[in-house]
Symmetry: C2
Subunit: 256 residues, 2 copies
Amino acid sequence: MLSKNQIKFVSSLQQKKFRIEYNLFIAEGNKIVKELLNSSLVVKQLYATSEFLVNERIESSIETFEINEKELARISALTNVNQVLAVCEIPNYIFDIEALQNKLTLVLDEIKDPGNLGTIIRIADWFGIENIICSTHTADIYNPKVVQSSMGSISRIKCHYLDLMTFFKETKLKPQQPIYGALLKGENIYTKSLTKNGFIVIGNESKGISESITEYVTDKISIPSFSYYKSNEGEAESLNAAIATSIICSEFRRRE
Amino acid sequence: MLSKNQIKFVSSLQQKKFRIEYNLFIAEGNKIVKELLNSSLVVKQLYATSEFLVNERIESSIETFEINEKELARISALTNVNQVLAVCEIPNYIFDIEALQNKLTLVLDEIKDPGNLGTIIRIADWFGIENIICSTHTADIYNPKVVQSSMGSISRIKCHYLDLMTFFKETKLKPQQPIYGALLKGENIYTKSLTKNGFIVIGNESKGISESITEYVTDKISIPSFSYYKSNEGEAESLNAAIATSIICSEFRRRE
C-alpha cells in the first residue's frame, strides 16, 4: 500500500522545482529501469509489481515497494503504466572543457520539445557522442517525457546546462575546435569536409539557431533537400530538429 | 457562433470511422492550413479567427466560419489552439505499381506511433520520395496527430494502404526492384552500394520488420552504432523508426 505522502512525493518529481529540491528524477518502464539498474546512476527507490520483482535481482540498498498496477497508475507520469517506476539520483557531472578536446560534442540552442530532446540523447548515444551542452532554455533532461523518449540513453550521455554565449565567448581550446551550425543556408554537408572533433550546434524547433550564437559558428552546414517540389509549390521547409541531428551525426561518423 | 451539430461534426473527424464515413479529415495551425490551401488537396471548410482571415484570400468554394479562439478550442484536437482549423477531403490516389518503377518508395510495416508516421512523411517529402506504402496495421495518416507532425508534407506525399504480403508476392516489376530492409543485422549502409530505385522497408517501433515480410527483403541494411559502450554495458539498442528512416534516406540520396 502506498501512503498519501509517497504518492505526493513521487508525483511531485514530475515538476522541475521538486526534482531540483530533492535532486531526484523518475524513470518508468521495464526496459529503461533495467538499464538504469545496470548503469552508473544511483537508483534510490523502486515501485514495482510482483511480476517485475520476481524476475529481477534488486540490490538491498534500493528501497523497494511492491505495488499493484492500480497503485502504479497513481504515481505514474504515463498514460499507460508499465510494471515499474524508479526514483533515481540526478548525477553531478563535472563539466571539464578539456575533456571535450578531440571529441564531437552536441550543443543544443533551446530545444523545447521533450520528445525531441530525448530522441537527440538517444542519437548521441548511438553515434558515440558523450557530451551534450544545452542552453539554459533547453527542456529539462529529467522531465519524465525526455527520460522516456531517451530509452535509457540518459544513463550514458552527460548533459551540461550552460549559458551558450558565455561558453562560446570564453572557450579557448587549443587548437581551436570548429563550431558547426545546422542552418538552412550553409555548405552542403554531403560534400563538405568534416573534422572528427568540434561542436555541432542544433537550433530551436521553429527559430533555428539564435543570431547571437550564429556569430560563433565557424562552419555553416545544411542538409540539401531532394524534394520534387520547388519552394513556390510548397516544398518541405525544414526537417524536424532531431531528424536533422541524426543525419548530421551520421555524416560525421560514416567518414571515420 | 458554432452550432452544436457543427461542433459534433468537426470533433467526430478525430475518429477514423467518421473520417471514413465522410471522407474528410482535419488539419490545424496557420502554417499547415496555408500549405493545404495552396496544394492540390480540396479544403471544404475553414474555421478561423478574424486574425487569420484578414490576411488570407479564401476561395469562395470554401465554406468559411469566422469564430473566436474559445470556439476553436471546442473543435480542436490540439492542446494549444491556433488560429485555424480546416476540414479537407481525403484524396483518392490511384495506386499504380508501374509508376514506382525507377523510383525509391518507402514501405512501412506497422508504424504505430502517429508522431513517427508524420515525421516519416516529412522526411519522404524532403528526400523526394513521392510514395509511401503502409501496411494495413500502420497508423492512419489522417489521424490529427499524423497530420500535425507531417507539417504540411501530407499534401504532397501519396500514402497507399496495402496488405504487404500480397503486395510483395504479386509485385512483378521488370527489371525486378531491390527490396531493402532496415534490420539490426544487415550490411553496413555506409559502405554498401545502393540503387536509385527500389523499396525501403521500415519495421514496427518495437518488433522491427515482421518475419513474413523479411523473407521478401533482398538487401538487408543496418546503420552501425558508434557507441563507446559495448552491448553488455547497455549500449543503445536501436534508433527510433523515424530516425532510422532519415539516415537511410539520406544515404540513398547523397550518392546521386
